[in-house]
């Protein structure tokens, strides 16, 4: 089978879109169900990315360990560090209202960005640092490998979200999001549940960031700008959290359409790619967000869930 149609550019775009879907699924749990508006997505993504980078680059791994073991350890470190950071942030914002959560999480992302810039000894500062690819399937083979891994992660996250949606745990998350004081008297540890939710979501976003680092071969602060958070947020809001597929459909309609269809298949002048397209992208996303909130506040898949879920419950 010929894979010529899969240009390096397309593989990379698919990879980015898949990563965005993955993060949108974790946000689905936090914001869509439990009502915690996490605006620090790129902070967790970036922390995962940099943790991986710092581990793989700054630890003098003995040659005897080969390439794979240090890679696995650094990946695990990225997951653990972001999970702990998620717990800390979750604890910090647990008593805040919606605005406080927004500011707190946004602040976290800013801190990660500033640290990436300022801690040159560890992060390489504005120039960033290169990371090597631990697998050896050739240039294209490697890209396909990481794309496959990312897709696997997305499938796993989607499956997990689907499980949560149908479980009493999912209903409890919605209850916490809707009326937290009341949820405290349901006999389940709401605080611990929120913390673990934050830890799981953050670890997932951190893992995506770490895989992104490997695929990208390079880690630098420009990769962890607010656009990452926006793309995830807009995708999820557009698709809606009412259904498991909301995050997937929403991201495909935004980042998917734009980064794949527009950028790769539309014959646009080369000079647009540097400045015009990113700006147009943000503008289109912003406009879509407004339109969706006006016309379909529950997302394009909005009210479909209620009917289905209710029908299922009614039978039970």
């Amino acid at each position: 089978m010929s894979l010529d149609w899969l240009s390096a550019f397309l593989i990379y775009a698919l990879f980015t879109v898949a990563g965005t879907v993955g993060m949108a699924q974790f946000l689905h749990l936090q914001m869509g169900l439990a009502g915690i508006g996490n605006f620090g997505i790129v902070g967790f993504f970036g922390l995962g990315m940099y943790t991986y980078g710092v581990f793989i680059r700054r630890i003098p791994w003995p040659d005897a360990m080969g390439d794979i073991l240090p890679f696995v350890i650094s990946m695990l470190a990225a997951v653990v560090v972001t999970a702990l950071a998620g717990m800390l942030i979750g604890w910090f914002i647990s008593d805040l209202d919606g605005d406080g959560v927004l500011v707190g999480t946004l602040g976290f992302a800013t801190v990660v960005y500033s640290l990436a810039l300022s801690e040159k000894r560890w992060t390489g500062g504005a120039e960033g640092m290169a990371v090597t690819d631990p697998v050896g399937f050739g240039t294209k083979g490697n890209s396909l490998f990481w794309l496959g891994l990312m897709l696997l992660l997305v499938v796993a996250a989607t499956y997990y979200v689907a499980r949560v949606h149908r479980s009493p745990y999912g209903r409890l998350l919605v209850a916490i999001g809707q009326n937290e004081p009341l949820a405290r008297s349901l006999g389940k540890p709401t605080f611990g549940i929120k913390l673990s939710l934050f830890a799981i979501g953050s670890a997932g976003m951190g893992l995506i960031g770490a895989i992104f680092a490997v695929m990208n071969h390079f880690i630098r602060p420009t990769e962890i700008g607010i656009e990452v958070t926006l793309a995830v947020m807009v995708g999820l809001v557009l698709g809606g959290s009412a259904r498991v597929w909301g995050a997937v459909v929403g991201v495909l309609l935004t980042a998917g359409l734009f980064d794949i269809v527009v950028q790769i298949y539309l014959p646009l002048p080369d000079s647009w790619y540097q400045i015009t397209l990113p700006v147009v992208r943000e503008m289109v996303f912003g406009a879509m967000l407004i339109l969706v909130l006006l016309w379909r506040p529950l997302g394009v898949l909005g009210d479909m869930r209620r009917d289905k879920l209710v029908a299922r419950l009614g039978r039970g």
């Binding site: 409890l172 809707q178 009341l182 405290r184 389940k188 009614g314």
Partner: protein
């Protein structure tokens, strides 16, 4: 069942409940008092949603003075607040199901009992709780607490704002819950007449201080007035 020894509680800087002693057994116990007397504060304190400033709280022989609200709920204290007693974005049925996450009895058995008690909400099981009328959401809130299979139910003015016809039937249900399910009930209430009809004993709160605890059967207007400090 529930023993409060010299409990004080309130909000940031204000002590509302001032050194209250209470011992509630297997009965319907009414807490009367004017607006702002501290009834809701007392019930929320008993539900462990407001921390104790001092004093001790014992439930079924265990000290619950310091436990978080989910623990006391898991041990059998069901709480229906005066306001916001439902999850508006969940359906009626989902509201009831979130109540059934603790306890060992089958969820469907409990559901059948609750719907038998409140047939009206059974008919609306697929409606979003946020779209229910005031009376209906009271029933859902109460039903949700009953789904938790509580040993003690704290009801904060469950009939405020209801049509007289509903008030009567609600009080009948309170009696029925107590009798058939062996659940103790602490009921905060403005309506002294109605409360005295269903309660075994009453206490009157006034500015956070409690009157003597009286048997509902021999409460006189004078005694009540004295409690209200009118």
């Amino acid at each position: 069942m529930l023993d409060a020894k010299g409990i004080c509680s309130g909000y940031r800087g204000v002590t509302v409940i001032k050194s209250l002693d209470l011992s509630v057994g297997r009965e319907v116990f009414a807490v009367l008092g004017a607006n702002g007397a501290g009834k809701s504060t007392l019930l929320a304190t008993l539900a462990r949603l407001i921390p104790l400033m001092s004093g001790e709280l014992w439930f079924q022989g265990e000290d619950i003075s310091r436990v978080p609200s989910w623990v006391s709920a898991a041990r059998g204290i069901g709480y229906v607040p005066q306001e916001k007693g439902i999850f508006p974005g969940l359906t009626v049925l989902e509201n009831l199901y979130v109540g059934a996450m603790i306890g060992s009895r089958s969820r469907e058995d409990r559901l059948d009992e609750v719907i038998e008690l409140f047939p009206d909400i059974g008919e609306r099981r697929n409606q979003l709780a946020g779209t229910l009328s005031g009376g209906e959401s009271r029933m859902v809130a109460c039903g949700r607490a009953l789904m938790q299979d509580p040993r003690l139910l704290l009801l904060d003015e469950p009939t405020a704002g209801l049509a007289p016809k509903y008030v009567d039937s609600f009080f009948d249900k309170i009696r029925e819950i107590h009798r058939t399910r062996d659940v103790s009930i602490i009921l905060a209430e403005q309506n002294a007449t109605k409360a005295l009809e269903v309660a075994d004993r009453v206490v009157v709160l006034s500015l956070g201080e409690a009157s003597a605890i009286m048997d509902a059967a021999d409460v006189t207007t004078e005694k009540l007035k004295e409690g209200y400090r009118i």
